[in-house]
Amino acid sequence: MLVVGCGLVVGGLVVLGWLAWQFWGTNWLAERHQQEVSTELEAGWAEGQDAVRTDFGRATAILRVPRWGDDYAVPVLEGSSDDVLSSGIGHMEDTADAGQAGNYVLAGHRVTNGEPFADFPELREGDLVHVETRTATYTYVLDLDGTELEVPFTDDWVLADRPRHPDGGPEPPRGTGKRLITLVTCSEIFHTDDRSVVFGHLVRTTPIER
C-alpha cells in the first residue's frame, strides 16, 4: 500500500508539474521565440525581404495593439501550426494578406505559449490594431468588443472574405469596406471548443521607407 500511495503522489506531482510547465514554462520559452523571430524579421526587412523564414515559420508582420500596452509587439507567422502559435500569432491559411481586400485572420493563444491574446476580453469596439509589414503599417479599427462573439471551433464562417453570421448575430458591419481583420482565440482559460472572435476594418495605410 505504501508503494501504491507513493506512486500516486509521484504520478500526481508529475501531472501537476506538466501543467505548471504548460501555464508558465511555455510562456517563458515562447517569449524567447518571439524575440528571436522579431529580430530575424527586422533584419530581413532591412535586407528587402517581405517574409522571413525562421526556425518556427515564415514571419511577415508585427502586430501592435495599444489597448494591450505601448510595448505590445508580437510577430505574425504564416499558418496556424503548433510551432507557429507557440512562437507568435498565426495568420490563418488562405485568408487575405495584411491590408489587402478580404479578411486578414489572425489567431493566437489566450493562455500558454506566450499567450499573446491573454487580454482578449479587454478589447473594445473602436480599439485600434496596427499591423506592421516591411512596406506599410495597416491600421484597423475593431467593430466588436472582445467578449461579444463566441463561436464553436467549427464555425468557419468567421474566416470568410466577408463574414456573415448565419444566425444573425454579431458580424462585421456593412459599409466598412472590403479590407477586414479578424482576431481569434480560445474563449476560456482551460481547453474549450469555443473561440472568441473580433472583427475590424482597415482605416489607414501608412507607407514605410526602410
Binding site: L2, E93, D94, T95, A96, L159, E188
Partner: protein, 208 residues
Amino acid sequence: MGTMRSAVVSGAVVVALVLLGAWGAPAASAAAPDPYNPSVSTECGVTVPTRVSSGARLAISLRVTANSGADCVGDVRVQVRGADDGALRSSAAVLWSRTVRYEGEPLRLRGPALPDGRYVVTSQFNPDDASFADCDGRAVVTVGGQLPDDDPEGPGGSDDNDENAPAGGFLPDTGGPDLLWLLLGIGMVGTGAVVVARSRRREPAAVA
C-alpha cells in the same frame, strides 16, 4: 495578464479541491455522468474553386484538423457527385472517387474533368487512432459558365459567406490544457497522500 490567469487558475484549484473533497461522498460517485467526450473532435475541409472552365480538371484541396492540435492520420475518401441547386442528392451516382492517405499535412488532388453543371465534392476522414472522431466535408463546384474573373464583385470575395473560401474549415486550438489534467493531478496527489498516511498508521499496529 498574469494576475488574471493566476486568479483563474487559483480559482480552478479551489474548485478542484472542493470536488476532490466531495469525491468520497457516495452520492457524488454514483451520479455525475462524465461530461467529456473521449473522442477528439475533427474537422474535414475540402476546397475546390467556385467555378472551373469546361474541360478543366478539378483541383481539390483536403485538410483534416483536430481540436487537440495533434496531427490527424488516416484515410480520406473523396467523391464527386452531381448536385441539384448545391444540395447533395443521395441518389446521384458517384462520378469520381479516390481514397488517399492523410498524414497530417494538407493534400492537393487532381480531380476529374467534368461536363458542364454543378457538382458536390465530399471528403470522409477515417482516422487510424480511434480516439479521433470521423468527419465529413463538402464543397460545391460549377463547371462551365461565367468564370470568377468576370465576377462583378471584383477581387475580395462576394457579399456573403462563400463556402469554398475558408481554407481550413476550423479555428485553431489556442487555449490551455484540459481542466481534467488539473483534477487528475490533484486527485492522484490527494489519494496517494491518504493511502500513504493510512499504510504508515497500520505499520506500527502490525508490529505490535
